[in-house]
């Protein structure tokens, strides 16, 4: 039950909601609600469970449902696909919330081949958009997250990343339609001009940009979003370079930075550590059945067995073949100058190579889930500090985080991804959900990393539900002025505090003291 709501009132509210969305789209029973849990939660069983779920079919039903939620002050948790299980999947921030499930709204409203964009609803997945583009004969690519069952809109709203040159999904977003808590519908940018044909072509308009305000937030329900799509290039050259030593990380990023900033490497270049890379094709128990991190001698054997480096750098070049070959010389000169570097332009029967090559050319797939076999038992949470792509900074982050992983008995399993001028460091803390001690250690390790990273000046760019409050508190410049601004906006736009309370550590006034 939602906090502060008695059973009779809740039943009455659900009856009203069922009348709006249809009885078959209002769920209160155990089995259908089980689809809304975080299957890989780092928390003990029984936390973050919904009280009910409601799935509207269109914007009008959203508006009507919001009236009911406001009238009964029911907290809701809005999501489109809810597939990102490293960050909580569809689960609500607190038990008792009503799931506001938008995956019935899964129409691809427009594909514009000339200007290279699509306009989508919240439930559209990467697979769905990819299939649609192929069916209509489009030459546009999607930029899927890995894995590809996630939502185009949801991933962009959560600041997610992909692996083509269009890999920064929020940057590639253009134009939103949002239903505010009071039911008012707002279109951002040129969408506010009646009859505009340019809503998805330009982000610019008179007045402030509001799109960012509706990302990683709880200020409105986004019902339509434009996303720019990359035209299929005339040439594509994926490559992997392996590096022998852990300390090579600094040299890798010092070499990458000018190639990225000058757009010689246009896509999201990624340096993957040995264990992440090998986990798509082997499991830990094949090499080491003991407790604690894998010894260096075994790491060396793993690298040798699979032809891998301690770091494995993936990127691709795109465009007309003469341009690719010209740029390739620059890449080769810079990246192959590091002693021990080995170039791979193809790898037979290597699932990790296969899925990354697919991702870098915009083909959604689910292969990355295979890496969960490394430990088994499926649990994982991603710790994701963000910084500039500097070699020494990458190496110092790596050494700090690896040491903490080892202190808590975990292997370091991670990757560094370089965007326009940013470096996303993704540490995947893997654990067996059935091993209570391991799960608790993963939770404790994550909490410690948040504080230590903040102490060293690194913030996370997104996080699991369970750590949203802790991470919000690390943004403490000028006595937490940024979150104070978030809270002032929250109170103004959603005075009853119904929309996803606690999302990203933004709580409505009535719940703030407890949080």
């Amino acid at each position: 039950m939602p906090q502060g709501v008695d059973a009779a009132t809740f039943r009455k509210a659900l009856d009203e909601l069922a009348a709006i969305v249809g009885k078959e789209w209002a769920f209160v029973d155990d089995l259908p609600l089980s689809a809304y849990r975080d299957a890989y939660s780092p928390l003990a069983d029984g936390e973050m469970l919904p009280s009910a779920a409601v799935a509207p079919a269109n914007m009008e039903q959203i508006q009507q449902a919001l009236k009911v939620f406001n009238a009964y002050k029911l907290p809701i948790w809005t999501f489109g696909n809810g597939r990102n299980f490293a960050y909580g999947g569809p689960a609500p921030r607190q038990s008792g919330y009503v799931m506001f499930d938008l995956k019935r709204m899964n129409r691809i409203l427009e594909v514009n081949e000339k200007y290279g964009y699509a306009l989508v609803e919240p439930g559209v997945s990467y697979f769905q958009l990819h299939r649609h583009l192929r069916q209509i004969g489009s030459k546009l690519w999607v930029d899927p997250a890995a894995p590809g069952w996630g939502g185009v809109m949801g991933n962009a709203l959560e600041h997610g990343a992909g692996y083509t040159p269009y890999g920064d999904h929020f940057v590639m977003q253009c134009g939103m339609e949002v239903v505010l808590a009071d039911g008012q519908v707002v279109r951002t940018g040129q969408g506010a001009i009646e009859g505009s044909q340019h809503w998805q072509s330009t982000k610019h308009a008179a007045g402030p940009h509001f799109d960012g305000m509706f990302t990683q937030s709880n200020f409105g329900v986004v019902t339509k979003m434009g996303i720019w799509l990359m035209p299929e290039p005339p040439g594509y050259k994926p490559f992997m370079i392996t590096y022998e030593r852990e300390d090579d990380l600094a040299a890798i990023f010092d070499a990458v930075l000018p190639l990225k900033i000058n757009q010689v490497i246009p896509n999201a270049a990624v340096a993957v550590d040995l264990l992440w890379e090998v986990s798509a094709k082997a499991t830990r128990r094949h090499y080491f059945d003991g407790k604690g991190p894998i010894p260096p001698s075994i790491r060396t054997k793993i690298a040798s067995d699979h032809g891998l480096g301690m770091w494995n750098f993936y990127a691709a070049l795109y465009g007309p073949p003469p341009i690719i070959e010209n740029n390739w010389k620059l890449v080769e000169d810079a990246m192959m100058s590091i002693p021990g570097a080995k170039l791979h332009l193809n790898r037979d029967n290597d699932p990790a190579w296969d899925y990354r090559v697919r991702l870098m050319r915009g083909e959604p797939n689910m292969t990355e889930f295979s890496i969960m076999n490394w430990i088994g038992g499926g649990g994982h949470i991603n710790f994701s500090p963000i910084s500039a792509p500097d070699g020494q900074e990458a190496l110092s982050q790596y050494n700090l985080i690896k040491q903490r992983c080892h202190d808590f008995g975990f292997d370091y399993i991670g990757e560094f991804l370089v965007g326009w001028r940013d470096m996303h460091h993704i540490l995947m803390i893997m654990y067996d959900r059935a091993d209570e001690g391991m799960r608790k250690s993963a939770y404790d390790l994550f909490g410690k990393l948040v504080d230590e990273a903040a102490g060293a000046g690194f913030g996370e760019y997104r996080t699991h539900l369970a750590f949203m409050d802790q991470i919000a508190k690390t943004y403490k410049h000028n006595d937490g002025a940024l979150w104070d601004l978030h809270h002032r906006l929250k109170d103004a736009l959603d005075p009853n505090g119904i929309l996803s309370p606690g999302k990203q550590g933004i709580w409505p006034q009535a719940m703030r003291a407890k949080a």
Binding site: L31, P32, L49, T283, H286, T367, N373, G376, G378
Partner: protein, 189 residues
């Protein structure tokens, strides 16, 4: 709707978490009429292939759906209309299948866990511990036969654990597997 699976049970974790808790099988629903059985085979996993082969050889499988290592088939091929989907797969495949099938209104019938550690397989199932313990590397065949019996209504309610004798692990095996069954497309009452 009257589901005979409790919320506490279903929500107790990932694929293996749910298996640990054990899921109550809808015996009455299955006993009413025979449903076609479709086997999900994870092509890269040797135990999954042996399990599927046993179902096929017994004449109980109407069809086998092979999932390659992209795992994409889990999103596109599980819409079978009506029947029982069964599999012995890696934990990630079990999790993805569970998510897809629950969202489509399928009903979990059973989930069992099979974990290789310290040179032995450890099985957590309902019934057949002695057979599985003796089976060593041939355990997927025993499991497939046992699951056919369980789905036919011949099943013990209590969860049982057993360990095999010392045995090796195939180089292609993930070493942590889940066997599972879902009933699809049958109106719940």
């Amino acid at each position: 709707m009257a589901w005979d699976v409790s919320r506490r049970t279903v929500m107790s974790g990932g694929a293996v978490g749910a298996a640990v808790a054990g899921l109550g099988i809808g015996r009455s629903a299955l006993a009413k009429r025979p449903l076609k059985t479709i086997v999900i085979e994870e092509a890269e996993v040797p135990e999954s292939r042996h399990f599927a082969e046993t179902f096929v050889n017994s004449g109980r499988a109407a069809r086998v759906i092979r999932i390659d290592r992209t795992l994409n088939g889990l999103l596109h091929e599980l819409a079978i209309g009506e029947g029982v989907l069964v599999g012995l797969t890696s934990d990630p495949v079990a999790m993805i299948a569970e998510q897809v099938l629950l969202a489509d209104g399928a009903r979990p019938l059973l989930q069992w866990a099979h974990h290789y550690r310290k040179m032995r397989w450890e099985h957590r199932t309902d019934g057949a511990p002695a057979l599985l313990a003796r089976a060593s590397t041939g355990w997927p065949i025993v499991l497939a036969n046992h699951m056919q019996d369980a789905l036919g209504g011949n099943r013990q309610a209590a969860e049982l654990r057993c360990q095999s004798g010392h045995c090796g692990l195939d180089g292609k095996s993930p070493g942590m597997l889940v066997s599972w069954a879902f009933e699809v497309g049958v109106q719940q009452s």
